[in-house]
């Protein structure tokens, strides 16, 4: 399928919103639409790698975290995956400067919500189209890419610009899958379900795929073709299929029927409901037959099954009281106020670590990193710039006295999924137990255990012990 001159780089655009109002109301990025166990962007990457690409440039307009968690660095596909952010207000030509394509080299230019297949791929520049519309894949030279990049704000304009290019062969793909609209996503699902070879796993019965951990009541009816993800619960007398997908974590209650539908992860479908030709996400249902998306407030009918990963606890009153007392105790040292202003302005210039998954007060980042690095004077700087000013936030209930250590996204991605959740929902704190262990004393595992402990309610005794160790560290410096 690939030739010696096959492009080695693919540029995937996952920055385009869906033009379909139903998908917009569902709040679903087309490229992240899960179809039979894989989001479209993953299918697009695998297709590009199958065509010989070794480098993928992924262009995003948002949801960086979701894509990073899903795709990582591309190592599992044997390619290098680079992320590029195209903010809404920026000019696409700035993106072109970052990509720096070579004029005479061919690149795959792809809309990440589409996958096309063809048995024989031509050698030169080509554009795949269907009924005069761009199918989402094109093979262009760097010079041609430069000519169309000005239209990269919108998929439709970009497609028109690509089709208008001279010296490119226009071809119809053998098969094209799209998730740019609700109806195209449903059509794509039907196509995938009809092609057993395209599925990542073997069917349990012909046309029926059931993922690990799923429980199907013996009284439920499954009509092929049906895709059921992992940890799905289907209760008695429920009817699933034909042509339906239940993504991971869904629950279909007694007597409900799901036909020609995509049910997105973690959705509960209540008793007796009839879902037909629809996309369902939580308590939103996009009905393709009537062309509307409706919101169902009644949780007994439709709901999101997954609770928030960790409930964000309110700052305990003991911590708030202690923080208020400490703030008053150190208030007489008024000279620090000048140093605080100076330090805060210095820190504001340094900015935030772009790899941070969660937002923290900007003052915390450099001083914490300095302590970890063993920089001289770091404890004092932490007390002046982070701890003392932060006491007011703790007294106000906005922050914990002891909380989670900020970590880079790479560190967090390396963790098991359960641990990753700690960093998404746990509350941050002025300091953390692992800060007191220091770089020399703490292994990586101990540091993450310390963060997990910090998300639980600390006893008063332990809190006072940690404060004592913290002040001892500041005093000794």
């Amino acid at each position: 399928m690939t030739s010696a001159n096959a492009p080695l780089t693919a540029i995937l655009f996952a920055c385009w919103d869906s033009p379909d109002p139903m998908l917009q109301q569902l709040g679903l990025a087309p490229a992240l639409m899960p179809l039979a166990g894989k989001p479209m962007v993953q299918r697009a990457i695998e297709q590009a790698v199958g065509l010989g690409c070794r480098r993928i440039e992924l262009v995003l307009a948002g949801q960086m975290q979701a894509y990073e968690l899903l795709l990582g660095d591309g190592e599992r596909w044997g390619c290098a995956l680079n992320y590029h952010y195209l903010p809404p207000a920026s000019q696409p030509v700035q993106l072109l400067a970052r990509l720096a394509p070579e004029a005479d080299v061919l690149y795959w230019v792809v809309s990440a919500d589409s996958v096309v297949t063809e048995s024989v791929v031509p050698d030169g520049a080509c554009v795949y189209c269907d009924d005069g519309q761009w199918s989402g894949w094109a093979r262009l030279s760097g010079a041609q890419l430069g000519n169309v990049m000005h239209s990269a704000r919108q998929r439709e304009h970009f497609g028109q610009a690509v089709l208008a290019l001279a010296d490119t062969e226009q071809r119809a793909p053998q098969r094209a899958l799209h998730s740019s609209s609700a109806s195209s996503a449903l059509n794509a699902l039907q196509t995938l379900l009809a092609d057993t070879a395209a599925m990542p796993t073997r069917p349990r019965e012909p046309g029926i795929w059931i993922g690990n951990g799923s429980k199907i009541h013996p009284g439920a009816i499954l009509q092929a073709p049906v895709w059921i993800g992992q940890n799905v619960l289907v209760r008695e007398h429920a009817q699933i299929g034909p042509g339906s997908m239940l993504a991971d974590g869904c629950v279909v209650d007694q007597g409900a029927s799901v036909e020609q539908a995509i049910v997105l992860p973690g959705t509960y479908i209540g008793q007796g409901l009839h879902v037909n030709k629809a996309l369902v996400k939580g308590n939103l249902i996009a009905n393709l037959e009537h062309g509307v998306t409706i919101h169902i407030p009644d949780r007994a009918m439709l709901a999101q099954t997954q609770a928030p990963e960790l409930a964000t606890r309110a700052t305990p009153w003991t911590q708030r009281l202690i923080a208020a007392l400490l703030w008053l105790l150190f208030w007489p040292l008024a000279g620090w106020r000048h140093m605080l202003r100076q330090s805060a302005s210095e820190l504001a210039r340094t900015g935030q670590d772009p790899h941070r998954l969660r937002y923290f007060n900007v003052r915390m980042v450099p001083s914490h990193a300095a302590i970890q690095a063993g920089v001289s004077g770091a404890w004092g700087a932490h007390f002046r710039t982070t701890f003392y000013p932060g006491l007011r936030d703790v007294a106000a209930g906005k922050l914990n006295l002891v909380g989670i250590t900020p970590r880079t996204s790479e560190e967090i991605h390396a963790l098991p999924l359960y641990w990753q959740r700690i960093y998404r929902r746990g509350r941050s704190g002025l300091f953390n137990e692992t800060l007191l262990l220091g770089r020399a004393g703490a292994s990586q595992e101990m540091c993450f255990i310390g963060d997990a402990i910090a998300t639980e309610a600390l006893s008063l005794g332990r809190l006072l012990l940690l404060l004592k160790r913290y002040f001892a560290a500041v005093w000794h410096e």
Binding site: G272, L273, H274, V275, N276, I285, N287, E289, H290, G291, V292, I294, I296, P297, D298, A300, M301
Partner: protein
Amino acid sequence: MKLIINPITATAIVVRFSKDNLDSSNVEAFREQIKASTDNCDALLLDMSELNFVDSSGLGALLATLRVMNAKNGQLRLFGMTRPVRALFELVRMHRIFLIFNTEEEALADLSAGEQADK
């Protein structure tokens, strides 16, 4: 919630909604007002064209109205349903329980045809 009531014959009336929602905030007012209509007619036509949102309490109130009309061998027809409400009815399978028409004329024609058949 104020229902607009238009008698069309001696025993049939058309009821229109004055708000675009039938939910827990106004369902009690709907029940009180519709009771007067169900007590005084044999055929009730509900104009759903103003409604864009109905929640489970609204659905319950409509079902209760149907039960009342059925209990006295009366007729209930719904017409002019908007797409969101129609999608909701199909979701909860109530489109198989109620007689639903696109326009008032179709609902009246069905009513007349039913009366002719009874005779």
